[in-house]
C-alpha cells in the first residue's frame, strides 16, 4: 500500500539529509521525546505504555502456571509476542502475524533473554510447575521505531512485574510480590539512508531507509543485534553503531530506572 503523503515526506527527509539535518530538527544521534508509564493495566501482572515521539506501544505481562521446558526443569519460562495492530497504521493488515511482527517480537525477546534480565530461576514453584511470563506487545500508533518503543515497553512492564501467590493449586492475585529485573538491557535502532545513519527513525525516515540495525546492550556487554532491510553496513559502521548504542544506554537507563 502506498500512502501518497508518506511518499512526499520521503522526499523531504532526503532533501533535509543533504543539508545534514532531519525534518524534525533532531541531530542524527537524538531520540524523540520518550515517555514511559507503568502499571497502566490493573488486570496484568506488569504493564507499560511507552511513547517515542508519535509512536506508541503498550506491553502487558501476564503470569500463568505452566510446565517448565524439559531442559530447564527448575526455571520459569519467558514468551514474547507482538501484535502490529491495524489501529497503528494503514499498512498493518488483520490476519496471521506478519514477518514484521514476528521479527519485532523475536528481536525484543532476544535482547531480554540474552541479558538474562528476568530472574527465571526464582520463578520455580514445585516439580513440574513454574511461572510462565507472557509479554505481549501491542503497537497502537506507528510513526517509526516501533522496535525501540516495544523494547522499552516490554522492559518497563517486566521491571514493574509482580508475582502472585500460588497456594493449593490456586493463583492468588490479591497477594503479589514485586519482582524487579536482575539487570536492565537497553535497545537502540538506527537506519541508514544513503551514507547517513540516524538514530530513532520516524516512519518517513524508515520507509526511505536502505537498511536498519538494532542493538541490545547492557553494561559493557552486547546482547543482541538485528540487521534488516535491503541495504548493507560496513564493518566500521557496525562497530561505531555499537559504540553509539553504549552511549545512549545512560539516557535510556535513566528513563527506565525512574519507574
Amino acid at each position: 500500500m502506498v500512502m501518497v503523503i508518506d511518499e512526499l515526506k520521503k522526499e523531504a527527509v532526503k532533501d533535509m539529509l543533504k543539508l545534514g539535518k532531519r525534518t524534525d530538527g533532531r541531530s542524527f544521534d537524538q531520540y524523540r521525546e520518550i515517555s514511559i508509564k507503568t502499571n497502566v493495566i490493573s488486570a496484568a501482572e506488569g504493564s507499560a505504555d511507552v511513547t517515542i515521539g508519535k509512536s506508541r506501544v503498550m506491553a502487558g505481562v501476564k503470569l500463568e502456571v505452566v510446565e517448565p521446558f524439559s531442559d530447564r526443569p527448575t526455571e520459569g519460562t519467558l514468551t514474547v509476542n507482538a501484535d502490529l495492530l491495524p489501529t497503528a497504521h494503514e499498512t498493518f493488515e488483520e490476519g496471521p502475524p506478519s514477518e514484521e511482527s514476528i521479527e519485532l517480537a523475536r528481536v525484543v525477546d532476544r535482547g531480554i533473554r540474552a541479558a538474562e534480565a528476568v530472574d527465571l530461576k526464582s520463578l520455580f514453584i514445585e516439580e513440574g510447575k513454574v511461572w510462565g511470563v507472557f509479554v505481549d506487545i501491542y503497537t497502537l500508533d506507528h510513526d517509526g521505531n516501533l522496535l525501540d518503543a516495544a523494547a522499552l515497553a516490554a522492559t518497563a512492564a517486566l521491571q514493574s512485574m509482580k508475582v502472585p501467590k500460588y497456594e493449593n493449586e490456586k493463583i492468588i492475585r490479591e497477594e503479589m510480590t514485586p519482582k524487579k529485573l536482575l539487570n536492565i538491557p537497553t535497545q537502540c535502532t538506527f537506519v541508514k539512508i544513503g551514507k547517513d545513519i540516524i538514530l530513532d527513525p520516524t516512519y518517513a525516515e524508515e520507509i526511505v531507509a536502505d537498511a536498519r540495525i538494532t542493538y541490545c546492550v547492557g553494561d559493557g556487554m552486547l546482547y543482541a543485534i538485528q540487521k534488516a532491510g535491503p541495504g548493507a553496513f560496513s564493518k566500521d559502521e557496525i562497530i561505531s553503531l555499537l559504540d553509539k548504542s553504549f552511549e545512549q544506554r545512560k539516557y535510556l537507563l535513566s528513563l527506565l530506572e525512574k519507574i
Binding site: E103, A114, G220, M221, L222, A224, G231, A232, K235
Partner: protein, 271 residues
C-alpha cells in the same frame, strides 16, 4: 543459548568435532542439481545438507505484489521435519519466517532488480539436515543457485557464523555450540565490497569479543567464496562439455520422442 554448559565445548584447544577455533567444517557445493528450477545448488557444510532452488525471473503471483520498476525478491527458508533430532512440524514457524525475512533482505541488496521489472525472483532454501548455522549455509547455497539461474547480481554473497564458546571466539558454530555456547552470530558478506548484508547476534559479548568475532568472520570469506566459484566452474565445465560432444540431454530427449512418434511421420527436428 545455554550460557553455562556442563559439557565443555573446547578440550585441549579442540572443539567437539576436533576443529580448532578458526576452522570451518568441510563444505561441498554442487550447482545445477535440479531439473525444473531455473537455478539450484546442493550444499553440505559439516553435517548440514541444504538444497537451494531459484525460480525467476517469473510472473508475480499474487499480482498485487508486482513492482513496476524492478523485480521483487522473495525467500522461503524451511527446515524439513526430518532434518533435526526431534521431529519437526511441517510448515513455516516463527523462526523460519524470521530467517526467510533476513535472507530475502540480504539478497535484495545484491540482486540487480532493475533488469527485470514486474517479475519475481523466488528463492527456496530447504534444510534437509540441520546441524548448526543452517541459515548461513542456506544463504551460501542460495547465492550459488541465483548465479546458476543467471540472475544478475552485484556480488555473490557468502554466509558464515561466528560465536563464543567456553569464553573463546570461534568460527562456524555447530549444533552443540549453537545450543550451549555463549553467543551466536550469523553474517552474510559481499566478498567484493566487504559489506555486511545479514547480521544477527544473540548472547553475551564484550566489545572486544565482538570485534574479534567480526574479524574472524571476514577472514573466512575467501575460503567459502572459493567453494562457490568451484561449484559454478564445475557446472559450466559439465554443461559446455555436453554441448561440445553434441550429446546433451536435449538430443537424447529428441531421440526418445522420435521413438515414441515412430508410427507417425517424424521429421528431422532442428535443435
Amino acid at each position: 543459548m545455554g550460557g553455562n554448559s556442563e559439557v565443555p565445548l573446547i578440550v585441549n584447544g579442540k572443539r567437539l568435532d576436533g576443529r580448532g577455533l578458526e576452522d570451518l567444517r568441510p563444505i561441498t557445493i554442487e550447482a545445477g542439481v535440479l531439473n525444473r528450477a531455473n537455478g539450484s545448488a546442493y550444499l553440505t557444510w559439516g553435517k548440514n545438507k541444504v538444497l537451494a532452488a531459484v525460480y525467476g525471473p517469473r510472473e508475480v503471483f499474487p499480482k498485487h505484489e508486482t513492482n513496476l520498476y524492478g523485480s521483487i525478491v522473495r525467500c522461503r527458508y524451511m527446515m524439513a521435519p526430518f532434518s533435526t533430532e526431534e521431529h519437526g512440524r511441517a510448515g513455516p514457524n516463527r523462526r523460519s519466517r524470521e530467517i526467510s525475512k533476513v535472507t530475502k533482505e540480504a539478497f535484495e541488496s545484491v540482486v540487480i532488480k532493475e533488469v527485470y521489472p514486474k517479475t519475481a525472483i523466488d528463492i527456496y532454501v530447504d534444510i534437509l539436515e540441520g546441524q548448526g548455522s543452517t541459515r548461513v549455509a542456506g544463504l551460501t547455497a542460495a547465492a550459488v543457485a541465483l548465479a546458476n539461474a543467471g540472475i544478475p547480481m552485484k556480488d555473490i554473497p557468502i554466509g558464515v557464523s561466528v560465536g563464543k564458546i567456553d569464553n573463546k571466539i570461534a568460527v562456524d558454530m555447530m549444533k552443540e555450540e549453537d545450543n550451549f555456547g555463549q553467543a551466536d552470530m550469523p553474517l552474510a558478506i559481499n566478498p567484493t565490497t566487504g559489506e555486511v548484508i545479514l547480521l544477527q547476534m544473540d548472547g553475551k559479548m564484550t566489545r572486544d569479543e565482538f570485534i574479534h568475532a567480526l574479524d574472524l568472520a571476514f577472514a573466512k570469506v575467501p575460503e567459502i567464496r572459493e567453494k562457490q566459484i568451484e561449484a559454478l566452474r564445475e557446472f559450466f565445465k559439465k554443461s559446455s562439455a555436453s554441448i561440445e560432444e553434441g550429446n546433451g540431454n536435449g538430443s537424447s530427449v529428441i531421440e526418445e520422442e522420435q521413438g515414441l512418434l515412430g508410427q507417425q511421420e517424424a521429421g528431422v527436428q532442428e535443435q
